[in-house]
């Protein structure tokens, strides 16, 4: 192993563990080369200084509360979750209300049929949405 390869190995050793053979060749070279020993010493010192100097900062304690607040203020987020369900429910309520006036059946039967229709179509549209998101 020459000086260039040794210095490359020294730098690699600071990032990952070296294969035994490469490690031994590096050590062997270092034992007899002052330039590379000095390079290794400088790099190890630098590594320790970098590890100590780079701040292991974390977000402030209020980070999540502040983020939640922003999410609550985001109208897009509020709607995107519930819009299909709300639209479905409002549509069904309107259809039931109209049917109560227009159909010649008792209110009870119309409401019952409306509830069955609402739950049936809810599951149908949920299944359809699931299938579509699976496809995309």
């Amino acid at each position: 192993m020459d000086c260039q390869e040794t210095q490359e190995s020294i730098l690699d050793s600071l990032v990952e563990s070296l294969a035994t053979e490469r490690y031994l060749a590096m050590e062997n070279h270092l034992a007899g080369c002052e330039t590379c020993s000095s390079f290794a010493k400088v790099q190890h010192t630098l590594d320790s200084r970098l590890a100590a100097a780079v701040p292991l900062a974390r977000p402030s304690p209020g980070f999540r509360a502040s983020l939640r607040k922003r999410i609550q203020c985001d109208p897009e987020a509020l709607w995107s979750d519930f819009l299909p369900d709300v639209a479905h429910l409002v549509g069904c309520v309107l259809v039931i209300a109209l049917s109560l006036f227009l159909l010649p059946f008792s209110s009870r039967s119309v409401i019952l049929a409306g509830l069955v229709f609402t739950s049936g179509t809810y599951f149908l549209q949920a299944a359809l949405r699931g299938a579509l998101s699976g496809l995309s």
């Binding site: 730098l11 990032v15 630098l46 970098l50 701040p55 292991l56 977000p59 402030s60």
Partner: protein
């Protein structure tokens, strides 16, 4: 863990999915923003922007990319546009009092910090992120969308440059 979050997203339980992702990635993304922006306050604001974008993008997540890759792509683009823009939007002050980010545990090594600031941008980002992310080349490579080998080569060059600067 990614599978749990995917499952929550499929069920459209977005709040829980966000909470899980915050537990997993909040600190990593914050440190990534810090590594790129080099400013704690700004890094926190941009981290909030990233998670807000993520929240807005939940319905569009198609499961093709891994969640980490997807999140890092959003984070990288947001950090890069923030670092490009000279004036940035102040985001935190709503009615919650602004608290400073948790104090850094690293000691202040002014000489070294100045030398790091003089490195080319990509080398500065790579070396800072490497130490911020627990010396993981793979994590830094994922964050910056670079091959592992490229990250290592930037690290090597940065170390050699730092050693030279500190000698001189």
């Amino acid at each position: 863990m990614d599978e749990d979050v995917r499952h929550l997203l499929e069920q459209r339980r977005y709040s829980q999915a966000l909470e899980r992702l915050l537990n997993l990635y909040e600190t990593k993304v914050f440190r990534m923003a810090l590594g790129i922006l080099n400013d704690t306050g700004r890094a926190e604001e941009v981290t909030q922007d990233i998670f807000l974008k993520l929240w807005q993008a939940f319905p569009a997540y198609d499961g093709r990319a891994s969640l980490g890759t997807w999140l890092y792509a959003i984070a990288r683009n947001t950090c890069l546009s923030a670092s490009r823009s000279e004036s940035y939007r102040k985001t935190v002050p709503l009615d919650i009092p602004t608290e400073p980010a948790a104090p850094a545990t690293g000691s202040r090594d002014i000489e070294l910090t100045q030398c790091i600031d003089r490195l080319p941008e990509i080398q500065r980002q790579v070396i800072t992120l490497f130490y911020l992310q627990d010396k993981s080349v793979a994590e830094v490579a994922r964050m910056l969308a670079l091959p592992d080998g490229t990250v290592k080569s930037h690290l090597h060059r940065a170390r050699v440059a730092l050693a030279t600067m500190m000698k001189g």
